[in-house]
């Protein structure tokens, strides 16, 4: 167990392209940090730099109180779970779990004890003597996590571990990972592009865009007070409506803002509301419906309860205090 400190780290590839720049994060012991962002935002590169699979061009990475910049991955006391599981196909599940320990010359009895323990935690006992080929996706993912657990490392690193699973299994495994991390209290860094996964798993979220940090905070902080238009549009589903100030004039207190953000669930129909929306499309989700429309040339989405007859145009009002205001040029939040 250990804290992890990233101090102004950056990655420049040999061609001169910058993938990550000026990233500083302090991760407390036992904390679950999720790196989230669209593809190509540098989140995987960042994780791989912590793991030691990519060299660090700038800054320092500390695990515990050791600077690990020039250490081999095996010496960093971390364990990693890969997207495609990366199980050794020719070894049984038991051998897969034991391989890392064997390389560290752990005594045989200790290996057996830890493998048995991990198998019990993850309920993979019955498969210990099978080859990975004979396992389903979810079981393979469990084995991959088992391989991380048996090492009893200072930190777990997860690289989009659930992306290869089907939607239903993903939800189950998400809960299992959260539960597991709570029980083991191991510092974890988890990379995903799925904002829902990020929200549900994280103690703190790190939203990345273009190799830089947009915002760090607890899921609720990030949801309630997105620091920029990028975060506002990325976190939350359906995404926050971001409309130009000019499209909806006369909203009180918005004169100095360039962009106004309103969450779809914060909009409600009101006969004398200030926003007039022309309805373009409706998505029925069962319990509720998403109504897409436009006002003053800007797209707008509203979450409404289903079952009500919809007119051609809707007049809308927003919940008081639910407006998010952003600067015109920088897109930063105005408080």
């Amino acid at each position: 167990m250990a804290s992890i400190t990233l101090d102004k780290i950056g990655k420049i590839y040999s061609g001169g392209t910058r993938a990550v720049g000026d990233v500083s994060i302090d991760i407390a012991d036992g904390e679950f940090i999720v790196l989230v962002g669209p593809s190509g935002c540098g989140k995987s590169t960042l994780l791989r730099m912590v793991a030691g699979l990519e060299s660090i061009s700038e800054g320092t990475v500390r695990i515990g109180d050791r600077v690990v910049n020039d250490m081999e991955p095996a010496d960093r006391d971390i364990a990693m779970v890969f997207q495609n599981y990366a199980l050794y196909p020719h070894m049984s599940v038991r051998q897969n779990l034991a391989y890392g320990l064997k390389n560290r010359r752990t005594p045989k009895a200790e290996i057996d004890r830890r493998v048995a323990q991990a198998a019990e935690i993850l309920q993979i006992g019955p498969y210990l003597d099978r080859k990975p080929r004979a396992l389903s996706g979810g079981q393979r993912q469990r084995v991959a996590m088992g391989r991380a657990i048996v090492r009893e490392p200072a930190a777990f690193l997860f690289d989009e571990p659930l992306s290869n699973l089907d939607a239903k299994l993903r939800v189950t495994m998400r809960l299992e990972i959260k539960d597991l991390q709570r029980r083991l209290r191991t510092t974890s860094i988890y990379v995903t592009h799925d904002q829902l996964e990020a929200m549900t798993l994280a103690d703190r979220l790190v939203v990345l865009n273009g190799g830089r940090i947009e915002q760090i905070g607890t899921p609720l902080e990030v949801y309630r007070k997105p620091a920029s238009t990028f975060v506002a549009g990325f976190i939350g589903s359906p995404a926050m409506n971001l409309i130009s100030n000019r499209a909806v004039p006369h909203l009180p207190g918005t004169a100095h803002a360039g962009t106004i953000g309103i969450r779809p669930e914060d909009l409600t129909p009101a006969p004398d509301g200030p926003i007039d929306m022309e309805i373009l499309a409706v998505e029925e989700l069962g319990a509720q419906r998403l109504v897409h429309g436009q006002t003053g040339g800007e797209r707008l989405t509203v979450t409404l309860p289903s079952g009500v007859e919809l007119p051609r145009t809707l007049r809308l009002a927003w919940r008081p205090g639910s407006l998010h205001l952003f600067q015109a040029e920088s897109g930063r939040r105005i408080d």
Partner: protein
């Protein structure tokens, strides 16, 4: 092509049968010849059915050989061939798998050039460079030795290229997982790469064993002592009887015997062989 017309089926089968006949007939003739006496072939008509002298002919070849043409018994030549084929096959596999490992997994200066240099040797088989190679082997004093028979044939661009392709299909994550699991390069090679390329090694072994076994020109050139005659080159020497008629029945018996080890290797390793050539999932 999925068609279900009896006429086409018949045609396909006839073609296949014709193919089998074309391939099998010479073998059959050789077998028949090995069961007759020498005089039966001088009569003008070649017999097409086995004669009564099978045990006698094979017994003679295995036991004493044809001493008149300076031949050792077939057993010795078979053993020489076996040693040469095994040395070539194992040597080629060992050298090419390690060089492929170096080329795929290590970043060193001139890596690409090293690869292309290996690749270019594809254009220089033994037959092309046979005179200089003979000179080198002679200067090293390796004439009439197993090393001389096998070493010049061991370098193999094809096998290196094959292993390179195999290694490239192994996902990077597996390499990274092994690094995190604390496996150094050699451990990774032994614990992950070798087991994963097992079937490819087997397939290559079959091909290379037959390649080695069938070597003709090179052994013919560098062996002058009958202790190192190989079977394939030996057959040729036997057929070249100087004073007198070639003993066709004995030559054919030797040819039949020479075919057995490659056949045994193919049959014994058939399953791995096919798997190695077909399997893509890693």
């Amino acid at each position: 092509m999925i068609e279900n017309r009896p006429g086409l089926n018949l045609l396909a089968h006839l073609t296949l049968m014709l193919g089998v006949v074309v391939v099998a007939l010479p073998v059959w003739v050789a077998f028949v010849a090995s069961t007759h006496t020498a005089t039966d072939f001088m009569s003008g008509t070649i017999p097409m059915w086995p004669g009564p002298h099978l045990l006698e002919n094979y017994g003679r070849m295995l036991d004493s050989g044809v001493s008149t043409s300076g031949m050792p018994p077939v057993g010795t030549m078979m053993l020489n061939s076996l040693i040469m084929a095994l040395l070539i096959a194992c040597g080629k596999i060992a050298i090419s798998i390690t060089s492929a490992f170096a080329i795929v997994y290590f970043r060193f200066p001139l890596r690409r050039m090293a690869f292309w240099c290996i690749f270019i040797t594809l254009m220089l088989p033994v037959e092309v460079r046979i005179v200089p190679t003979f000179q080198v082997v002679a200067d090293l004093g390796m004439l009439n030795s197993y090393a001389g028979l096998s070493v010049p044939l061991i370098a193999s661009a094809t096998a290196t290229f094959l292993f390179r392709q195999v290694f490239l299909t192994i996902p990077d994550e597996l390499t990274e997982a092994a690094r995190i699991d604390g496996a150094g390069p050699m451990k990774f090679f032994r614990d992950i790469l070798l087991p994963l390329s097992r079937t490819n090694i087997a397939a290559l072994f079959v091909i290379l064993f037959i390649y080695g076994w069938n070597q003709y020109l090179w052994p013919l050139l560098i062996t002058t002592s009958s202790d190192y005659y190989t079977i394939v080159a030996g057959i040729k020497r036997m057929a070249d009887a100087v004073d007198g008629l070639p003993q066709w029945h004995l030559v054919m018996a030797t040819a039949m015997l020479a075919m057995l080890p490659p056949v045994a290797v193919v049959i014994g390793m058939q399953r791995l062989f096919v798997k190695g050539l077909v399997e893509t999932e890693k």
